[in-house]
């Protein structure tokens, strides 16, 4: 197990491994997102208060969950990159940032579209919304920092430090609805109480969970592909990379 894990950290092995895994992830993600979105848009009953407007959760919730998960992931990978100086972990940090930024922007955008009919405003300076916006800026910082360095390894490690320090914002976003009197509703699924007795009806919940799984798999596929690209670019002078591109 451990030898396999160590081998995986070598760029050519990782490249081939990702090549096999990514299409499966992508196919499964398409299936799950398709089923989840169909279930959410057509099978789930309309909400008794929000009507059909609530259906945006089938995109909004997965995007928001991913925006937090990806940043946490970047911090973990950043820690690994700094402690063990693992090249692949550096690549993982750098490759995840633009994807995370996109999901954060998607979560903000879908939230705004939902907020207009439901709250009556696209934007309020609420704790959840503001901290999510700060998260977007943190992602922007990581992306900008990476591009500012001429040496990709030094850039990735600087990004790792920023990811580690910025991860303090993740629990703030998650618990902002509990700590402050927030206009944003509390957690319906991801809470200790919510798992025991869900606050959301079953025929609305299952498409959400399916869609959530699909989004995570989709991120996995995109992340692997981006990592492959980054690895290939960094190793562009190595023979295996040139053979891979030529093949």
């Amino acid at each position: 197990m451990w030898t396999w894990f160590h081998q995986l950290a070598s760029p050519p092995t990782f490249y081939r491994f990702a090549d096999v895994l990514a299409p499966w992830l992508l196919g499964l993600a398409a299936l799950l997102i398709g089923v989840g979105v169909y279930g959410g848009l057509f099978l789930a009953p309309p909400d008794y208060q929000q009507g059909d407007a609530f259906r945006i959760i089938y995109v909004h919730v997965p995007a928001a969950a991913l925006s937090l998960s990806i940043y946490t992931l970047m911090a973990v990978a950043g820690g690994i990159a700094l402690i063990w100086r693992m090249k692949l972990a550096e690549v993982a940090v750098v490759a995840a940032a633009p994807v995370g930024a996109s999901f954060t922007a998607l979560a903000l955008l879908t939230g705004m579209l939902w907020g207009k009919p439901t709250w009556g405003a696209y934007w309020v300076w609420d704790a959840r919304l503001t901290s999510e916006l700060v998260l977007l800026f943190l992602y922007a910082g990581v992306i900008g920092l990476n591009q500012a360095y001429a040496d990709p390894r030094a850039g990735a490690r600087a990004c790792a430090w920023l990811a580690l320090v910025g991860v303090i914002n993740v629990p703030i976003v998650h618990f902002s609805v509990t700590w402050w009197n927030s206009l944003h509703q509390g957690a319906s699924i991801l809470s200790v109480d919510g798992i025991r007795n869900p606050k959301i009806s079953g025929d609305m919940l299952w498409p959400l969970l399916v869609s959530l799984g699909g989004f995570y798999l989709f991120f996995g596929a995109v992340w692997l592909r981006r990592m492959q690209n980054e690895v290939l670019w960094r190793e562009r002078n190595a023979r295996w990379a040139q053979q891979t591109v030529a093949a």
């Binding site: 900008g144 580690l164 320090v165």
Partner: protein, 221 residues
Amino acid sequence: MSAASAVFRRELLLAARRPAEWAQPLVFYAIVALLFPLGIEAHDPALKVFAPAIVWVGALLAALLGVERIFRGDLEDGTLEQLLLADAPAPLLVAAKLGAHWLLTALPLVVAAPFLGIALGLEPLAVKVLTLSLLLGTPTLMFTGGFAAALTVGAQRAGILLPILVLPLMTPAVIFGGGAVRAAASGLSFDAPLYFLGALLALTVTLLPFATAGALRNAIE
């Protein structure tokens, strides 16, 4: 410890020879704060409402002004390398350097803040809370700024990157700092936001020097 105090004294000595470096943020602060009454009508009562935000954001911008230079000169003349090679723990030296920088560029802002607060029409109690909140908050700003400066000092194309890195990390200080002054101005209890500022201060002053030293090591490699 003697290495830390040597770094501290070196910073003060360098600053004493270049007074413009610590005087500039102060002048900048005064100008920013006094532009607001010119921007809106001079006797507008809204000025008093916005005063906490004006004074806090002004201090933040002024503190940002010199941050970019904290490590730049040291990197260029090789001092930074010596600091990291030294026997003393690097985070301690970094903390001494940032502490000296705070004393030079941020403490004058804290001293100037009550005058600006009065000029913007804050009540005496709110002015007191404002000064206290800045006293607690400016080291947080300085240490966060130092961390971002360490991240960008090795970057070839840093440009406008520094503010983009610093501002998201500084939002909690502004929220609680402005919040404390706002609470005091409207006669509410201002203990909680001040405690939060104190907690942020403890967190940043103890933990960020480690991250800053790590980022500096990365920059000189």
